[in-house]
C-alpha cells in the first residue's frame, strides 16, 4: 500500500467534474476527486447492481432512472424496501468494515449512474480529511433524509383507524 497521497486534480479535471446533484454543495476539487474514482455506468431495466452479501465496493450516484432497494424474504419473495431516483445515492456499506452489502439493488428502469470505486475513495478520504468531511457531510444529509422518511413510513399514517 502506497503511503504517498494521490496528486490533486488538475484545473481541467476540476472544471470538467461531472455534475452530481447530491454533491452539488461540495467543494469543486472534492467533486473532481470523486469523479476521478468514478466511471459512468448504464444499466438496463431489471439489471442487478448488487446482492445482499456481496462485497461493498461501489458508491452509486444515480443520474437518471429508478433503482429498487430490495430484500428477499423467504416464503414471501422479493420485496422492495425503497426506490431511489435521480440525485440519490445507493450503497454506503463501503464506508465501514466488514464492507458487506445488506440489501439487493436492481434497476427498475434504464439507469445511468456514476459508479465510484470504494477503495479509491477510501484511500483519498484517508489522505485528505477535508475531502472526507465534505463527502461524509453530504452523504449524511442523504441518509438523514432517508431515515426521516423511513420513520414516517413506520408511523403508518394511511392506516384505517378502525383497524387495530
Amino acid at each position: 500500500m502506497t503511503t504517498s497521497s494521490p496528486p490533486p486534480p488538475t484545473a481541467s479535471e476540476t472544471a470538467s467534474a461531472p455534475d452530481i446533484p447530491t454533491f452539488a454543495g461540495m467543494q469543486p476539487e472534492h467533486r473532481a476527486i470523486i469523479a476521478g474514482c468514478a466511471r459512468e455506468v448504464t444499466l438496463k431495466p431489471g439489471e442487478v447492481l448488487f446482492r445482499e452479501g456481496d462485497v461493498a465496493d461501489t458508491l452509486y450516484l444515480i443520474r437518471a432512472g429508478t433503482v429498487a432497494i430490495e430484500m428477499f424474504v423467504p416464503t414471501r419473495g422479493t420485496i422492495t424496501i425503497e426506490t431511489v431516483g435521480a440525485g440519490d445515492v445507493v450503497g454506503w456499506s463501503w464506508l465501514f468494515p466488514p464492507y458487506r452489502l445488506r440489501f439487493d439493488a436492481r434497476a427498475l428502469s434504464a439507469v445511468t449512474a456514476g459508479a465510484v470505486e470504494a477503495s479509491c475513495l477510501r484511500a483519498r478520504m484517508a489522505a485528505d480529511p477535508e475531502l472526507g468531511y465534505d463527502l461524509l457531510f453530504h452523504l449524511a444529509k442523504v441518509l438523514a433524509e432517508r431515515l426521516s422518511a423511513t420513520r414516517m413510513r413506520l408511523l403508518d399514517v394511511y392506516r384505517n383507524p378502525a383497524q387495530p
Binding site: A68, T83, V157, Y158, R159
Partner: protein, 292 residues
C-alpha cells in the same frame, strides 16, 4: 382579522344552495364500485325528484345513513350538473360501514354541498402539483378532471400519489391512464410494497425531486392525513413554492356543515366555512401547535 374571512353571500350562492343545508335530501345509489378492501366509490342521484347536486371540487357533503348518522365526505364528482354525485368512502366506523354497504337503489341522505373548495383559477398559467396521500386522492380527483379540460392553459402538471400498500391505491385504472398521457406526470408510491410491485416505494415527498415545476410559478394542492400534508407543505415551501400557493384540504369533526355546532374549529378557522381548503400561509402556524 374580522369576519371578512367568510366567503361573501354572493360567493356562497354560486357554490350550492343553502336549502337542503339542514335537512337531508333523499338520494339513491346509482352505482357502486369497490376500490380496496375497505373503500368503495358510490355514485348517487337525487331520489326526491329535485335538481342534481352541483359541488365545486374540494367541497364536501354530509352523507346520511338512515338511523345511523351522518359523516362529512369530500365530493369526487366533477362540477358539471350532468354528472351524478360521487363519493369515495372508507369504512372506518358505524356510519361509513353502513354507507359502504349501500347497494344500487338504496337510499342515502345528502346535505350540502358545504365549504370552500380548491382555488382552481390559480392553476391557470402556472405549474401544478397535486399531492395525494391515501384517501386524499378522492377530493383531488375532480381537480384532475378540471385541469384536463383546460390543459392548454396550464403549465406542467404532476400528480403524486402516496399510498399504504399497492392494494390500497385508489382509482388504479384511472391513474394508469393518467400516467400514460404525455401531458401529465403521474407517479404512485407506496409506503410498503408487496412482492410483484414494480413501482416506487417510499414517502410521497420523495417524489418531489423528480417532479417538473418552477417553484416561483407553481400552485400545489394536497390532501391526505394531516401529518403527511404538513410535511408535504413544508417540503414544498423548502423547495421555493410560496406558502400562500400551497393549499391543503383540512379535516376536523365536521358535523353541522353550516358553522353552528363549533366542532370543526381549527384556531380561528371554522373549517366548514373557511375550509376545508385553506392555504399554508394561514395553516402553517396553526398546524405547528399540537392539539389546537
Amino acid at each position: 382579522m374580522s369576519t371578512g374571512t367568510r366567503p361573501s353571500p354572493e360567493v356562497a350562492a354560486t357554490v350550492g344552495p343553502a336549502a337542503g343545508a339542514l335537512t337531508p335530501r333523499l338520494f339513491r345509489v346509482a352505482g357502486r364500485a369497490q376500490q380496496t378492501h375497505d373503500t368503495w366509490t358510490l355514485r348517487l342521484v337525487p331520489g326526491d325528484g329535485g335538481a342534481p347536486l352541483v359541488a365545486a371540487p374540494g367541497q364536501f357533503t354530509m352523507l346520511y345513513a338512515f338511523g345511523v348518522g351522518e359523516v362529512p365526505l369530500s365530493v369526487s364528482s366533477g362540477s358539471s350538473g350532468a354528472t351524478p354525485l360521487v363519493h369515495t368512502v372508507r369504512a372506518v366506523g358505524a356510519v361509513t360501514e353502513a354507507i359502504c354497504a349501500a347497494k344500487p337503489g338504496d337510499a342515502l341522505g345528502v346535505r350540502g354541498p358545504f365549504g370552500r373548495g380548491w382555488p382552481l383559477d390559480e392553476t391557470l398559467g402556472r405549474d401544478v402539483l397535486l399531492i395525494a396521500g391515501g384517501l386524499g386522492l378522492a377530493p383531488l380527483w375532480p381537480v384532475i378532471q378540471w385541469i384536463l379540460r383546460r390543459r392548454d392553459d396550464i403549465g406542467h402538471v404532476s400528480v403524486l400519489v402516496g399510498s399504504r400498500t399497492p392494494a390500497d391505491v385508489l382509482y388504479r385504472a384511472e391513474l394508469a391512464h393518467l400516467a400514460a398521457r404525455p401531458d401529465i406526470q403521474a407517479v404512485v408510491t407506496v409506503d410498503a410494497a408487496d412482492p410483484g410491485w414494480d413501482g416506487r416505494v417510499g414517502v410521497v415527498t420523495a417524489l418531489l425531486p423528480q417532479a417538473r415545476f418552477d417553484p416561483a410559478r407553481t400552485v400545489a394542492f394536497s390532501c391526505g392525513p394531516e401529518i403527511m400534508m404538513r410535511l408535504t407543505a413544508q417540503a414544498l415551501v423548502d423547495a421555493g413554492v410560496p406558502a400562500h400557493r400551497v393549499h391543503l384540504s383540512m379535516e376536523r369533526n365536521m358535523h353541522c356543515g353550516v358553522g353552528h355546532c363549533g366542532r370543526c374549529q381549527l384556531g380561528p378557522l371554522l373549517l366548514c366555512l373557511d375550509g376545508p381548503v385553506c392555504d399554508y400561509d394561514r395553516l402553517g402556524p396553526l398546524l405547528r401547535i399540537r392539539e389546537l
